[in-house]
Symmetry: C2
Subunit: 243 residues, 2 copies
């Protein structure tokens, strides 16, 4: 199977959670919207399956994955589909539900991380909701960041025989998403992450391990990997991360 | 299997999406936190599986479902598990992924609906973020409500041979969740819903059909059904729904 990934070309965003799984699972895939327009890429390629009336099961938003005739939307749903096919989940149903549950909890966290810089409306620019963003960020850094990271740290601690993986004894897609989450938080909130570092040793080790995982290291060094930037979900605005 | 549902006792909230599936699927279940405290209910029963160190795979937040030894968290994940067991999804994998994808899109919408009255922080009361809520609500009603409802209306239209169901030709859990969504929106935003009614005829018909579905009608008339209220996700604050 040659997969087609569709996501906004200029940001890692939610697409990166899927890309990491495709890369770690050595999948054959095309990152369609990042192709040049003359090769069928660009944003118009991205919109095609979302806006064409002839498409019966249109996704609400990117990312989505074309897998043969299937068009699969929602990040966690794409990973639910890819996990068993790429060897990135354990075999038993209980563990698969648990991996998916953790992925959905990451999705909730990512949504709150987005709202730090966009608390009022996605249709406005950051500078149009800066005052509200500052107030949101105060609560986010004091309450939500420690709560979510504390939870994932406990998940790692509770999987004590798991060699540092989130679930079971091998790499699963939720490890890859956790890597992306920690990297993004370091980028966006370096001060807050420095303050919390001593409380999340296992998450920091996991982040390092994934970064140096042979298949991932090659990808991360390649041009396929997109840097975090201020158009994406994880944005660094110093005024939202006071020292 | 006798399921145990765990959710906050005083609100329909996200627990109701699970409850509707259990009721429509004629499942045997106990709504644990709504039992009297002397029978093992109450909020302390709810917290037990979330806070006990002996629990290996603790959920981050309610609702969660105990199914034998499994503890399953995240609303959409619970429905993913229950769907095939209660006959509330089609057989083929593509349709199951599609139902789940729609459920996750509902979850995104529900999260935004919550943020209308809590745009800054869950830890604050509504009256402490009233000004921001008013600004959020303006964008939500003008942009997000029509976008999400327009999408789900198109999903129904595209499933033209489906007898008014969202996916395939029979009731699935996403129909039940859509029912709850429309009911909640009518409760919270009667003015906005009146304005948009002509654009979402199929969603309104679906809402009526589910309300009068024999199994559901009995449940909805029972004491097991909780009313919407101002502690839940769908809240009616007149200042957030101008006429």
């Amino acid at each position: 199977m040659r997969y087609e990934l569709y996501y906004w070309p200029g940001i890692p965003g939610r697409g990166e959670f899927v890309r990491l799984a495709l890369e770690a699972g050595r999948a054959k895939y095309v990152d369609v919207a990042r192709l040049p327009k003359r090769s069928g890429g660009g944003v118009s390629a991205l919109m095609r399956w979302m806006e064409d009336d002839a498409v019966k099961r249109r996704p609400f938003a990117p990312p989505y994955l074309k897998a043969g005739r299937l068009i699969i939307g929602q990040t966690a749903n794409i990973l639910l589909y890819l996990g068993p096919r790429l060897g990135l989940v354990p075999e038993d149903e209980g563990s698969r539900l648990w991996v998916h549950q953790l992925q959905l909890t990451i999705a909730d966290f990512v949504s709150e991380i987005h709202d730090v810089h966009h608390p009022i409306a996605s249709s406005l620019y950051y500078h149009q909701q800066k005052r509200e963003a500052r107030r949101y960020a105060g609560h986010f850094l004091a309450e939500r960041l420690p709560k979510f990271l504390g939870y994932f740290e406990e998940v790692l601690a509770a999987n004590a025989r798991g060699k540092g993986y989130m679930v079971g004894k091998a790499l699963s897609y939720v490890d890859l998403s956790t890597f992306q989450l920690i990297g993004g938080l370091h980028y966006a909130f370096p001060n807050a992450m420095a303050r919390i570092a001593a409380d999340i040793p296992r998450l920091l080790v996991l982040h390092e391990r994934i970064a140096t995982h042979p298949r991932l290291a090659a990808y991360l060094a390649s041009e396929r990997r997109l840097d975090f930037n201020e158009n994406g979900i994880f944005r660094h605005y110093p005024e939202l991360d006071p020292g």
